[in-house]
Structure formats: C-alpha cells, structure tokens
C-alpha cells in the first residue's frame, strides 16, 4: 500500500473526478439559490403567458382565422424560457465558476493538476458537471412544459427540442466562459465579474448598438444573446449550432491553456493566440454552412411549398441591393419576410446593404432610399415592397419562370386553449420551492459516524444522492418529452392498405392528394356487414388466440369502419389526435378516434360528423351501440380539414374539435385498450397526422 509504483501511465478513471465535480457544484449555495429564484421568475412568466394565451384563445373561440395566430411556441414556451434565460444570464455564472474558482482559492487546484488526468480531461469533466448543473437549473422551466401539457396544451416536440437545444447551447456557452474566466483569475469574485462582463455586456450590445449601421452591426452579432433568437424563431441552423459548439470549444481550449500553473504567461499567451486563430478560422468555415431546418408547425421561416420548390430550382445567382438602413423597420420586415427565407431556399443569393454606413435619420434626402434592386443573371428590377406577394412574382419574372401553382397542404390550425393556471402558481410558489429546499437540506446532511465508512470508495452516499436526484428529475420530466407515436404515411404505398394501421372494418387505403399521402376510408361502395379483407388473420394479429370473440363482435359492428394502430398496445392516459376532411357521404360523414378497444371487440369512440355538426362519445358494447355523451352545434364543414383530439386521464375523457373543448365525460372505469380511427357507413374521409402521446 505504501510502496511506490513507477508505472503511472495507466489512465485514471473519470467517474470519481466527475462525481467530485458534481458534489462540488451541488454543495455550493449558488445552485440552490438559482433554483429557488427561478421558481417565482419562471412561474410568474408562465402564469402571465398562459393568462394572455387564454384571453387570446377565448377571443379566437369562434374565429378559425384568429385561432391560426395562436402558437404555443410564441405564446407560452418562448416567454417562459425567456425568464429562464434571464436567470441563466445573471446567476448561472456563479454556479459554473464554482467548478474551478473554489479550487483555485482553496489550493485544491494544485493537487488536482497533479492527478493522472490530462488538463483537457479536467476541463471537459468540469463542463460536464456544469451541464448537469444546468439541467438541474432547468427543472422549473421544464416543469412548466409539463404543466402546459397536462392542461391540454399543444406541444410540438420539434419546436420544444429546438428551443431547448438553443437554451442548452447558451447555458454551455456561459459555462465555458465562466470556466475560462475562473482559469485566468485568482478569485471567484473576479471570475464572476469577467463572466458577467460577457453576459451583461451582450445585453448592452443588444440594447445599444444592435441595428446600427456599419461595423457596429457586425459587432452586435457577437452578442451571446443572439444565440437564442434563432432557436426561438423555430429555426434549427447548422451554422449557428456549429458556431456555438466552436465557441464553447474555444473557451474550453483557452481554459485548458491557462489552467496549468507550471507554464509561463508568455507561453500561455502564445498558445492562446493559436487558439484564437484556430477559432477564427473555424468560425469563418461554419458561416459557410447553409443548412437549416424550419421546425415550426406554421412554417414561419419558409415560403409556401410551391414557391420554395420553384425558388430552389433557380440556378443563377440572385443579387439583392437594399437601399435601406439596417435599423429601418422596413428592412427588418423585408429581412424577416423575404431575405432570410430566400437565403434558406435559393442556392446563390447575395444581399448587400447599399446604405451600410448610412443611418435611418441621415437618409431623408436620398431619393433612392427605400429601393430594393433585384438582379438575376443579366436582368434586374426595382421594388419598394417588403412583401413576398410582390417580390416573388418579380423574381419569377426576372428568371423567366411562371409563378408555381399552389400545392395543397395542411394549414396551421392554431392551438387555442383557455386554461386555469392557478395550479401553476401553487406549484411554482409553494410546492417546487419546498421540494428544492428539501433537496438542498438532503444534500447538506452529514452522514453519522455509524453510517459509514468507506465501504464503497468510488461511490459514496453523496454521489448516490446526486444520482437519485438526477434519476428523479429525469423520471419527472420524461413524460413531457416522451415521443408521441405518430403514424407516418410518407412511406406508405398509394392505393394499398396502410402498413401502420390494421383495417378491421371497411375499405381503408392510402391516397395521394397533390403529392401528399393521406389515409382514406372509402364507404362509397359500402354494403352493410362488410368487414375488411382477411379479417380473421388481422384479428389473430391483434389478439392472438382470443381472436374468435373479437371476430364475432366485428361482424356485429360492421356498419362502422375502423382501423387499429399496430404500435399501441394499451393506451390508458394521454392524447390522441387526428386531422380529418369529410369528402362525401350521403348517409354519414363521420370521423372518429377509437379507443378502449378490448379483446372482445368492444370499444369507445369520440366522433365528429360533417353532416350533423355534432360531437358524440359512442359506446360499442356487447353488440350494441349507444351514445354516452352528445354535444350539438360543433361546426364541422365538409371539405375542410379539422382537428379532432381525445384526451384521456384515467376514466376522464375529453373531446376537442378544432382546438375547442366540447365534450367531457367520466366513464365508470379507467380507459385501457388499443386505439384507432373510426368512421361510419358511406363516409368518404381523409385522415392525416394520427398521433398518440401517452402520459403517466
């Protein structure tokens, strides 16, 4: 034990180092203070957002046009995450600095750098601990997402994931800056001042010089807060993600240079210069990456599909010269509505501000001010419009191509929701703070002497506590991010039966509608008692040896076509949504969501009807159909797309049509069974976006 070992080349395990870093961050007050302060901050923002969203939703209740403007991304998520951003900007540096600053002050760093780890390993493990701390700090804001979901709010996984990624990258950037600051300063206080100079300096850049012409505009782009803006707009830009990753790596590389105490300042400055040079080159390279994805449901960052395809096919360079000052609201409109979208879709676009050094105020006498020149190949044209409705035809004219015929596609319906958000206040102002204080107390509790000692060298009690906290956090938050099961029709074959759904009754097939694949139930050739082809085999596929009982009941219900989702074994809680369009049907035009399908063939369905304009919860039990809940006056126009949603919580069932809650019913027993889609008799319907999002 006491004898030396000359061979120390073998690597040391990283886990003890990571566990130590976690303990160091969790044992500090900064993390818990941030968490506690975040509760009212995030809670109030969420409360305000849901209240305002509710008011707007109430106004939009009878106006589908108004409803289309209601997006949870803008109305709920961005404002709520915005308060988290404030907390991260102002307080997270103190959490991150602790990962290094305390060691410098206590002298522990001199021990740490002698351990058998490379300096780069030390720094990256510290960043990993900072990342974990950021996840803990995100608990309040993630819980708001969960509350919104539980209240019936619509969530787009792609939008949330993008927004979350943006804030994560921002948090990592702050963490990397804090580690760098701690590496070059002797005290945590000085490191905090340096880091806050970055973060608050970014605000100053935003408020004072953003939108100014010339080099000030370029300088404003260095603001850290700019990182989040693009993600808030629902745009996943490869260039931005890569740029932030490069910046994080650069600050970590600088921290790695400055951390070891045995190197002269001159050597450190030279290595830093190399790092800065390499970073500059990498940043120039990443700006060349053009790929980006518009993840928004309303495609706000993209032109209409037909225009996007037409513009993408224009091979020659398009040069745009804008005679507007950068801070002019018309330029901001033009950039958002046209230029940014053109840059995304066209292969060769160059945009030049002719008035780059000119301010809005100084341009009053310039007659060309306000003109935008478009040059495509040898042809050019002028316009003063900032609207794509005028600019796109102009570009098509220059290119000598006709404006494309519109491609029918689903319009964004909007997701109005009126919800009582008082519960959220109780959660954020009482329950969550109490839980945080309890966790803090638990982390500070000392082990008693008879509880220990050192039976496990590697994983001790505090580490286990941290793991329990981490697992609990994940367990609580996982349902919010549980990927919903969506029946994807893109890979289906037009004219064939769907592969992801099992037709039991009626004629179900994939149809191609203007390039988009949809699920159709075609009852035009309907004859009573007609089950789907090969029904016996399908019944066996669903319920194995118990298929005979199921088959008997199918024959009884053969008036009502339905398909069953193959990938959902047992749906108990959550949301099932589908979009549908009534095409024709003399007897009926019914579209329903089927659930609680039992092995004996009994089931429930919430269905809308374009002929009857009502929403009904039907029960099919022991060969008989009976209505359970009936709601009249639910406008459901033929040949228009509608949203149908069923929300199940135990035995409670809610039915929504076009985002509005119409139907509520408490069943005698909790729901449990397979799910699917339903129709009736001679209905000819289209279905799309069939999604099942289960929750605990």
């Amino acid at each position: 034990m006491l004898s030396p070992e000359t061979s120390l080349a073998r690597g040391a395990p990283v886990w003890p180092l990571f566990a130590k870093e976690l303990r160091e961050i969790v044992s500090g007050r900064a993390l818990w203070t941030l968490l506690l302060l975040s509760c009212p901050l995030v809670g109030y923002s969420f409360f305000q957002a849901t209240s305002l969203y509710g008011e707007a939703s109430a106004a939009a209740a009878n106006s589908p046009v108004l409803a289309t403007g209601l997006s949870p991304l803008d109305g709920i998520l961005v404002p709520t995450f915005g308060s988290f951003y404030v907390a991260v900007t102002l307080l997270f540096p103190f959490v991150a600095i602790r990962a290094l600053g305390e060691e410098k002050q206590s002298g522990a760093l001199r021990l740490l750098v002698q351990l058998p780890y490379r300096t780069v390993t030390l720094v990256w493990v510290k960043l990993a601990a900072v990342f974990f701390a950021w996840l803990l700090c995100a608990i309040p804001v993630l819980s708001s997402v969960l509350i919104w979901s539980m209240a019936g709010g619509h969530l787009s996984p792609a939008e949330i994931a993008t927004l979350f990624l943006g804030h994560l990258l921002y948090g990592l950037l702050i963490g990397a800056v804090a580690l760098f600051a701690a590496s070059i300063t002797e005290s945590s206080a000085t490191a905090a001042i340096v880091t806050l100079a970055f973060t608050i300096g970014s605000w100053v850049l935003d408020f004072t010089i953003a939108g100014r012409p010339g080099w000030l505009e370029w300088f404003a782009h260095l603001s850290l807060t700019q990182v989040i803006r693009t993600f808030e707009q629902g745009l996943l830009s490869a260039s931005l993600v890569a740029g932030v990753v490069v910046a994080v790596c650069a600050f970590l590389a600088l921290a790695t240079v400055w951390l070891p105490p045995g190197i002269t300042v001159r050597q450190k400055l030279m290595r830093s210069a190399v790092c800065v040079g390499a970073t500059a080159v990498a940043l120039v390279l990443v700006t060349q990456i053009k790929a980006s994805i518009d993840v928004t449901e309303d495609r706000r960052n993209s032109f209409a599909l037909a225009d996007a395809r037409q513009l993408a096919s224009l091979a020659e360079p398009l040069a745009i010269t804008v005679h507007l000052a950068a801070e002019d609201p018309r330029y901001i409109d033009l950039h958002r509505n046209v230029l940014a979208k053109l840059e995304r879709v066209m292969p060769h676009v160059s945009i030049r501000l002719a008035t780059a050094r000119q301010s809005f105020a100084s341009s009053a006498g310039d007659e060309t001010y306000g003109e935008i020149e478009y040059r495509y190949g040898a042809r050019s044209d002028l316009s003063r419009s900032t609207s794509p409705r005028e600019i796109l035809p102009l570009i098509y004219g220059l290119a000598g191509v006709p404006p494309p015929a519109p491609i029918p596609s689903a319009e964004f319906p909007g997701y109005p929701l009126v919800t009582d958000s008082v519960f959220s206040l109780v959660w954020f102002l009482a329950v969550l703070p109490i839980l945080i204080v309890l966790a803090w107390w638990r982390s500070r509790r000392l082990p008693s002497n008879n509880q220990m000692f050192l039976k496990e060298v590697v994983m001790n009690s505090s580490t286990k506590t941290l793991l329990i906290i981490a697992v609990s956090v994940i367990a609580v938050l996982l349902p919010a991010f549980a990927a919903p099961i969506k029946v994807d029709l893109a890979n289906e074959t037009a004219g064939a039966e769907p592969k992801g759904l099992l037709p039991v009754v009626g004629v179900w097939r994939i149809e191609n509608d203007g390039g988009k694949k949809l699920l159709a139930v075609d009852g035009r050739q309907w004859k009573e008692g007609q089950s789907s082809a090969g029904i016996a085999d399908k019944a066996r596929a669903l319920y194995g040896e118990r298929y005979a009982e199921f088959l008997d009941r199918v024959q009884t219900y053969a008036y009502y076509p339905y398909v069953v989702a193959k990938d959902v074994e047992d749906f108990k809680n959550g949301e099932i949504t589908v979009r549908f369009e009534c095409l024709s049907g003399r007897i009926d035009q019914g579209a329903g969501i089927l659930f609680n399908l039992k092995p004996n063939g009994d089931y429930l369905t919430v269905r809308a009807n374009c002929l009857e304009n009502n929403l009904v919860l039907w029960k099919f039990e022991k060969g008989r159909r009976s209505s359970v809940e009936w709601v009249r006056n639910t406008p459901t126009a033929t040949r228009q797309w509608h949203d149908l949603r069923v929300r199940i919580a135990g035995s409670k069932v809610e039915g929504y049509l076009d985002g509005k809650l119409y139907l509520q019913h408490a069943l005698p027993a909790p729901v449990s069974g397979k799910i699917g889609l339903w129709s009736k008799a001679d209905s000819y319907m289209h279905f799309d976006d069939f999604t099942a999002a289960a929750s605990e």
Binding site: M1, L2, S3, P4, E5, T6, L8, A9, A12, P13, W15, P16, L17, A19, K20, R23, E24, S27, G28, E102, E103, S106, G107, A108, R110, L111, V113, Q114, L115, P116, Y117, P261, G262, I263, T264, Q267, L446, P447, S448, N449, M452, F453, L454, K455, E456, V457, V458, N460, S462
Partner: protein, 232 residues
C-alpha cells in the same frame, strides 16, 4: 532516484532560486531546511512542475523528466491547502482513492495510520489545522507516486503528534517511497530526515547527513541549528 540540477527562478529582478542542485536517493527522507523566505516552497513547486522556472533540469532515475511528465513521478502536498471545503473528509479521501484505484481497505488503513477516523464525517472547513494537515498527508499517501514532496508536514501538530507523524513518514519511506520535506523547525528535521539540504536566499548552502554538514561547517558535535547558522 531524483536529481535536481542548476534550478534557477526569478521574480523580476529578484532571484528566488539560484543554481540549485542536489539529489535524493530511493527510500530516503531528505529535509529541505531554511528560514521563512529562503525559497523552500518555491523550490518544491518548481520541482513538482507547478511553477515555471528560468533554467535547470530534473532527472528521475537518470532520465530527464520534462514538465509534462513531472506528475508521473512526483506528487507535491502544498502547505495551507484546504481542498473542497464543503465536502466531508471521507468524500475527499474517497475521491483520491477512486482516482488512484485504491481499495476500501487501503483507504481505511491510511486513515488509521494518520489518525483521521474521528473526523471523517466532518466537512473540510470544520477541520482543525492539525486534522487538515493529516488529511493532506493522507491524500499524498493515497497516490501511487514514488516521490512525495511535503511542504511543512508538521505544521499544526503538537509535540506528541509531530513525533507520531514522524514515525508514520519513516514507515512510508521504509516502504520504498522517497520523501522530500520542507521543514523550518530544525529540531524536527534533525529527528526525521536521513539527509538535509540547507537553503538560504535561494541557494543551497550544504547537503548531507548531519555529520557531513558538521564537517562541512567545521563544527564537530554541533547541533543542526549551529551548523545551519555556520553555513548560511
């Protein structure tokens, strides 16, 4: 085992170390003796690679030991460090034990040897100066480095505790580890060290056993204090 040659370090115009050179044998306890400000800590940090030097070289088993490989052979225990103040002594020991792949029995034996068990559940910021010193020494023992540099290892101990710790250090050295101790209490150094290196004003004034130093100072029968005063 370890050869230090021509080590020089300046802070601006001031020379902290000047042409320092000596060697340490395997399993030896070498005492670095000098008054406050003599450059003992600077020298230890320079040897450990924690302080950049102007010139000089360090060899381990006759092989040049560059800065980046210094920590493979040498581990330095600084004076005044109070690592991870909010963690318990047990957690810090477990961290070092885990890093160096020590078994629970190894850690437990070292805890017993340096008498740390009564404060294992205490946070570091609640430890007395003496117990903090024991913890730092225990951390050094948990490493697997053949050479340990200890800066003022007896600071904070009373007479009995100092004697106990001396016997612990002797045990460690007899196990094959080489110890280089910076000590300003000459009486302590005389008792625990095999050989002594006298440092004053950043220069080595004498290296050897007490008897050799007496001869060098031409003071037969003198104690270390008298020899030190004669040579510096």
């Amino acid at each position: 085992m370890l050869q230090i040659a021509s080590l020089t370090k300046s802070y601006g115009e001031q020379r902290a170390l000047e042409n320092v050179g000596f060697s340490v044998q395997e399993g030896e306890v070498l005492g670095l003796i000098g008054p406050n400000g003599a450059g003992k800590t600077t020298l230890l940090e320079a040897i450990a690679g924690l302080l950049p030097v102007d010139s000089g070289e360090i060899r381990f088993r006759y092989q040049l030991l560059p800065l980046r490989r210094r920590r493979e052979a040498i581990f330095y225990l600084p004076d005044g460090a109070r690592p991870y103040a909010d963690q318990t002594a047990e957690q810090v020991l477990a961290f070092f034990g885990g890093v160096h792949r020590r078994s629970a029995n190894d850690v437990s034996d070292i805890v017993s040897m340096v008498v740390l068990r009564p404060v294992l559940a205490k946070r570091i910021n609640a430890l007395s100066k003496g117990y903090n010193r024991r913890l730092i020494i225990a951390l050094g023992f948990l490493t697997r480095h053949p050479i340990l540099l200890l800066d003022e290892p007896f600071d904070g101990f009373d007479l009995r505790q100092t004697r106990d710790m001396m016997s612990v250090l002797r045990r460690v050295a007899s196990g094959g580890r080489t110890l280089l101790l910076s000590i300003h209490q000459l009486r302590d150094a005389e008792q625990v060290c095999d050989r002594l290196a006298l440092l004053a004003d950043g220069r080595i004034r004498g290296v050897g056993t007490l008897e050799e130093l007496r001869r060098q100072a031409n003071r037969p029968g003198a104690n270390l204090e008298e020899v030190f005063l004669a040579l510096t």
